[in-house]
């Protein structure tokens, strides 16, 4: 039974924790060039490094970053925080490693490695609960650990969804088998992480198909499980209510982000371009179906020569395929059927061209319009299900005992023929790495000796370790060889000290830039041009500004963070004259353009130049700057309109001497405020008090739940040891 508690344990003379540690070290060795930053991160992994850097830098300063000033000219951080799962307590691993002296980039990569290992341990525990054999579960762990799922941490972010999901299923199965507070809280905490990391709809789809498969194949047992769960809830009412409350509170950031995306201030060019729904995070069906599971499989099948191995290629040790082939003579049981049905349902749902189910769901189930990477299902769930399926088959195979001598000879002949056939197959495919053949030979030796009774079951873990690991070590050597080495140290844009509000250059550099711009801009015949934006995400107004101004003008303008003007002019949103705007910027005209009717227009000669602040002075001084705010001390001889060239967003507020003042959207995409003459403090702040409260409260809540979970786990473990 899937949920029966008793498990048969083939205990090994080799301590499993020691074996786990050894496998972790071997994994680090296989990926040493990646983990120790000799090879660059690729694709989305690079963006995620940035997001984590911003967030951990903020945490270290005691600031919850809600604005990222480093993304073009600034953007709300919420999208990136949701992507990375900002409330995950494991993020502190990066900070702790960095604090003890490990360089940040290595600390980050070690965090990913440890988090991945943590996920694999969860998978082992889940496999052990399902298969009820620790040696076979260890094999499942090895197959997944050394599959190419691990490579995705260096080019993608799937890991951040995978790890909490595998622990969710572990806690879910464990709770169904043995309702305990620890498992219930673990289940809830995993859900909390899942719903605050990236897009939870992958998990929802996986879970719903899991439930459907469960209902189909384990309907009778469900009654028993429901009864146990009800009994637990009755006996732990307060605890359950509190856990549910935690879970519902954790939905808060996701809901807020959904609402934010609905407003349209943020734009997602790539994902939203083909969508008919107004919400910016929705995806059009053409975007979704551009690459899916079938493409990932076809892509992997193009790399029969493993010497060409690179990222995003589905790979698993050849031992898995041998088990698959040998398993055809084993009996089908409900567990195997369950995994089959679950995988089959997922494939039908998530492969649009295979059946019309996905199209139907896209039209009628709202959340299907909000996720697009269907090939993620291959990595997140189909690969682990396949491994669990194989593990079940191997268990059945190893328990097969032919009763007669003829039967034994026939079975051994079958094993030999399968191995010989597979050997010929890999040879004919042009697979020319030695370890491929070694795996087949070792597998044949193992199975032959096992069925001849020459191998004790206690040695199985170490045998599995040798057979499974041999090929990946060679394959990942080729991955290292085929990847781009890191030629220079990747420095985050603000790893240098701030010299002025956010990433401004030194004064000498500014003068140099200004002179160079002056040369380039002099004699410009046009100040506006139409370009298509290709940023993944941006702010609507900044996007408009960037795409309609001459690029040189945009570059110059963005270099100066503070500009003082004497005059403002109203430029309506539906009548933006980019030519006029560009010319005004290029000639440093003393007029700023605001998007609403000005309360005052300013005094002084219109023909004079705007005052560009290039360094701190008596007039403008920075008292404080950080992710979410900047505090300036001004001492102007007359009232001026101060423009802060950081992206405008409705979440920004400005306070002059503690009193909120009107903030204008200026020059299409930036922030501007009237500053009176004399000494004043001007405080630009992103977010409201509620935003700050929410984020800090959620952080504390997540950390508290996690610590309590560890406490419950320790108690449960101590109880087990005593028993």
């Amino acid at each position: 039974m899937l949920f029966a508690q008793n498990s048969k344990d083939s205990s090994s003379p080799f301590s499993l924790p020691v074996l786990f540690f050894i496998t972790f070290l071997l994994w680090i060795f296989a990926f040493k060039d990646f983990v120790f930053d000799k090879i660059t991160l690729s694709s989305d992994a690079l963006a995620y490094y940035e997001h984590f850097k911003v967030f951990t830098d903020g945490l270290r300063r005691g600031v919850f970053p809600m604005w990222d000033p480093t993304w073009i000219t600034g953007i709300p951080e919420e999208f990136f925080l949701r992507r990375m799962g900002s409330f995950n307590p494991f993020i502190w691993i990066i900070i702790i490693f960095n604090k003890i002296g490990i360089p940040y980039n290595i600390a980050y990569l070690l965090f990913l490695s440890c988090y991945y290992f943590f996920g694999m341990v969860g998978f082992y525990l889940l496999a052990k609960r399902i298969i009820k054999d620790s040696a076979i579960a260890f094999l499942a762990y090895l197959l997944l650990m050394f599959s190419s799922l691990g490579t995705r941490m260096f080019d993608s972010y799937i890991l951040l969804t995978f790890v909490p999901m595998v622990w969710f299923f572990f806690f879910c199965v464990a709770f169904c088998q043995n309702p305990q507070r620890f498992y219930f809280l673990g289940l809830i905490f995993s859900l909390m992480i899942l719903f605050t990391t990236y897009i939870p709809f992958y998990f929802i789809t996986i879970f719903l198909t899991f439930l459907i498969s469960l209902v189909i194949l384990y309907f009778a047992q469900l009654k028993e499980i429901a009864a146990k769960a009800l009994f637990f809830i009755k006996g732990n009412k307060g605890f359950v209510i509190l856990c549910c409350l935690f879970f519902f509170i954790s939905l808060w950031p996701g809901c807020l982000f959904y609402k934010e995306a609905q407003k349209g201030e943020m734009v997602f060019f790539e994902r939203h371009s083909t969508s008919s729904v107004s919400n910016q995070v929705s995806v059009g069906i053409e975007t979704v179906t551009s690459w899916g599971i079938e493409e990932d499989i076809a892509y992997a099948s193009a790399f029969t020569d493993l010497k060409r191995f690179k990222f995003a290629i589905l790979y698993i040790s050849f031992f898995a395929y041998l088990i698959f082939l040998l398993g055809i003579i084993t009996d089908v049981n409900r567990k195997i059927l369950f995994l089959f049905v679950w995988a089959g349902l997922l494939i039908l749902i998530t492969t649009p061209r295979l059946s019309g189910i996905y199209d139907y769901l896209y039209q009628h189930v709202f959340y299907f319009k909000y996720f697009r990477n269907l090939h993620f299902f291959l990595w997140l769930v189909l690969l682990p299900i396949f491994i669990l399926f194989l593990s079940g088959q191997l268990k059945n195979l190893l328990s097969f005992q032919p009763k007669t001598k003829t039967g034994r000879i026939g079975f051994l002949t079958f094993i030999t023929l399968v191995h010989a056939g597979f050997l010929y197959f890999i040879y004919s495919q042009g697979s020319n790495i030695a370890s491929s053949y070694a795996v087949v030979i070792l597998s044949w030796l193992f199975l032959t000796l096992y069925f001849l009774g020459r191998i004790k079951t206690c040695y199985l873990p170490i045998i599995f370790l040798v057979i499974v690991i041999i090929q990946p070590l060679e394959v990942y050597h080729y991955l290292s060889r085929n990847s781009i080495p890191k030629v220079k140290s990747f420095k985050h844009v603000y790893e240098s000290d701030y010299l002025f509000p956010r990433m401004i250059q030194t004064e000498n550099k500014l003068i140099e830039m200004k002179q160079s711009f002056a040369q380039e801009i002099k004699g410009l015949s046009h100040y506006a041009e139409n370009k298509t934006s290709n940023s993944y995400i941006g702010l609507k107004w900044m996007n408009l500004f960037k795409n309609n101004l001459n690029l040189k003008i945009f570059d110059e303008y963005s270099a100066y963070k503070i500009v003082l003007y004497d005059h403002v002019e109203w430029m309506k949103d539906d009548q933006v004259d980019f030519e006029r705007l560009g010319k005004a910027i290029a000639n440093s005209e003393n007029v700023a353009f605001i998007s609403e009717s000005p309360q005052k227009e300013g005094v002084g000669a219109l023909g004079s130049s705007a005052q560009i602040i290039t360094a701190e002075s008596k007039e403008v001084k920075i008292l404080k700057y950080d992710f979410n705010d900047v505090i300036l001390k001004t001492n102007l001889n007359k009232e001026k309109f101060l423009v802060y060239n950081d992206s405008y967003h409705s979440g920004w507020h400005v306070f002059i001497d503690g009193k909120e003042a009107p903030l204008f959207r200026t020059n299409v995409a930036f922030k501007g405020v009237w500053v009176p003459a004399g000494e004043h403090q001007v405080w630009f702040r992103f977010g409201t008090a509620l935003d700050y409260f929410r984020n800090y409260f959620l952080l504390m809540m997540f950390y508290a739940v996690f610590i309590y979970l560890l406490f419950l786990g320790k108690n449960l473990y101590s109880q087990k040891v005593i028993n």
């Binding site: 493409e295 076809a298 193009a302 055809i328 089908v332 195997i336 089959f340």
Partner: protein, 306 residues
Amino acid sequence: MIKFFSFITRKVFFLYIVIFFIAYRFLDYQSVFEISRLKTLNRLVPPSFSGLVQYSQGTEQLKKEDLESYLYYFNKVIEYVPYESDLADAYGMLGFCYYAKGEPHKAIDFYKKAIGLNPHFFWFHYNLGLIYYKQGRYKEAMDSLDHAISSNPGVIVEVLKTSRIYRQVMELSKYSTQNMDIGLKTVYRNAYLLLITMHDARKDYPKMFDYAGVAIEVKLDDDGLFYFYQGLAAYRLKSYNNAIFALQESLRRNQNNADTFYYFGLSLDAVGKKDYAQAFLKQAEVRRRVTQGYSFDPQKVNLKIF
């Protein structure tokens, strides 16, 4: 029987049979498979074909790892693409790459396959002819080059611009088609010159005369070279008046070739104009000491992709 059936249906392979049947009967797995393979080709494209194009133009050596990546990609194109028109181009590219790799036999096979799918494309015939020539298989070389020169140059440019493979190669190597016409003229010249020199070697002077004449007709003669070969052929055929005419045309275009003066002098001598003949023969001697003359070296003509 029931026992046996019950035994079989309990096994995993029966489950696979059922799944396979369902997939075969109810799901359009074949088109899914074909479409997904085509899409993966986009990911298998090398980041640049600059190495291939520069090698084709004779400006750079081709790196081994680049060549392997091109071979890998074009082999995948052949494996995945069902459209014949693109396959011909892919075969042609493979022919070129295998020749660059030093495997002319494979190159010949691929060019033959390319020609089988698209028998009217200049570059397949030209490159195949060149390979035969370098291997000393002159008869086959002449056949191929004959086919090459019979194709319309105007059509070639259009085909290159519409071919998916060629467009991809040009885009990813930032190759401009602006001077393609000039390049084509050069290779057509080479084709004719190779044919002429081969017929010269075989002492097939009537053919040599004809080819030179056609080359002149299609305006490939900018420097008098084809007039020279026409004149040479005519001289060897003892058609001295034709020789004089052709060689004179050659001299009008180029007065640096000693051989032109030499054969012109011999032709004049043959028709009895000995004084003039002596003058031209002396000019020939002078030029032989000073200039190199026409410098067509068949061994230096190399395969190209465009």
